[in-house]
């Protein structure tokens, strides 16, 4: 590793970051059919993150397919921007600078509310983003606390903000999923400047 401590990202940002593993990912020449199946998309063999997770390909495959359905399924439910907001708030609360960078960019792209998303990154989970987004953020944060602090108040606030139960389920799934993703990203490697990725 050529990065020194002072090069490493130390603030939440929507800029593109890289991520470097602390353990050895598989090499493409190591991959069997079982690993390719686990990667789901062959292009993920270019990613050190997915190539590290490919050490356990069955879990990786299930994780990836759940991820895609929770975030990309266009069939109703929560607008994509707010699924990404939920992921961003979760990552902000857990302290995952890398995950927050990726998903805040998605939230901005899909909502066209880049400044509001940036306030969540800069000011933290108490930022005032308007009641609907505040309700989504508060729910994601409460679900991210350990033990979980999510209760009827969070549901009532989401409903008051206009979310139906399909949308609320997407808030729960997106936040819960980032409690999975954050722990992998935070524990298996670290964010690095984009050029070093």
């Amino acid at each position: 590793m050529s990065n020194t401590q002072s090069d490493l990202p130390n603030v939440f940002t929507q800029d593109e970051l890289g991520w470097a593993p602390w353990l050895e990912p598989l090499a493409e020449s190591d991959l069997t059919d079982r690993h390719w199946t686990g990667l789901v998309d062959a292009s993920r063999s270019k990613s050190p993150y997915f190539m590290l997770l490919a050490h356990d390909p069955e879990v990786l495959e299930a994780r990836t397919r759940a991820d895609k359905d929770i975030f990309y399924n266009p069939n109703g439910g929560l607008p994509r921007a707010e699924r990404e907001l939920s992921a961003t708030a979760t990552s902000r609360h857990n302290g995952c600078i890398f995950c927050a960078s990726v998903h805040s960019r998605f939230a901005s792209t899909h909502s066209k509310r880049r400044d509001d998303v940036q306030r969540l990154l800069d000011e933290g989970i108490g930022a005032d983003l308007g009641e609907r987004w505040n309700a989504v953020t508060a729910a994601a944060v409460a679900l991210t606390d350990t033990p979980v602090d999510f209760g009827p108040d969070e549901i009532a606030r989401l409903r008051a903000a206009g979310l139906d139960d399909f949308e609320i389920t997407d808030v729960i799934s997106a936040s819960a999923f980032f409690n999975w993703a954050n722990r992998l990203m935070l524990s298996l490697g670290e964010p690095v400047p984009a050029k070093a990725a």
């Binding site: 299930a62 397919r65 359905d69 069939n75 302290g95 979980v148 389920t169 936040s175 722990r183």
Partner: protein, 213 residues
Amino acid sequence: MSHDLIDQVLSITPGSHLDQLRRHREVARENIQKAYDALFAPRDTNEVSLVERLAIASFVTGLHGQIVLADHYAHLLSTSEGGVAVAALINEEIERGTTEGPYGTYPAGPLASENKQGPLYAVAPANRTHLGLRLRVALEHAHLLVFRPRDASREALHGLINAGWSTAGVVTISQLVAYLAFQTRIVEGLSTLAATDVTAPRLPKVAPASAIA
């Protein structure tokens, strides 16, 4: 109908409101179960044994205070070969390790003002020999990931390697703890949703096929 653990612990019946909500993301629903199967009925247990998986799962769900899941894993652990003695120790360690998260420190810089201190967990000295080095270090790593994931470090990861875990084993342990952080939250979130008044449109109630008592 194939077995689904989340349906089981939430007592979700086919056609119920929660069932409709879950089946709206059918692929996610199926793969959440497939990840569970991959972790607890794994293709091979060379890197992480089943007792080790269940001990970590019992510990992690216990730390989350998710009673139904914690009971599920504690039961599997205590009925697995060689698991009874470990189960008793895990219960002690859950009590010892219970706290509130997330806390931890940020890299030096502006975020340092958000640093939040909390307890550092280590397995009770009296339990170290019985649990063995591998499992002891894995439990301490699990506690780190549950409560203060932003304190995870290269050194912590190498502590696992030094205790005898392979790289593949570390990946599986990391997925295990991270998955359980997810699973506990899905269960908590959906059970809370189920317990509140329903305002979303629901399918009309269908009369039973046979009304004969």
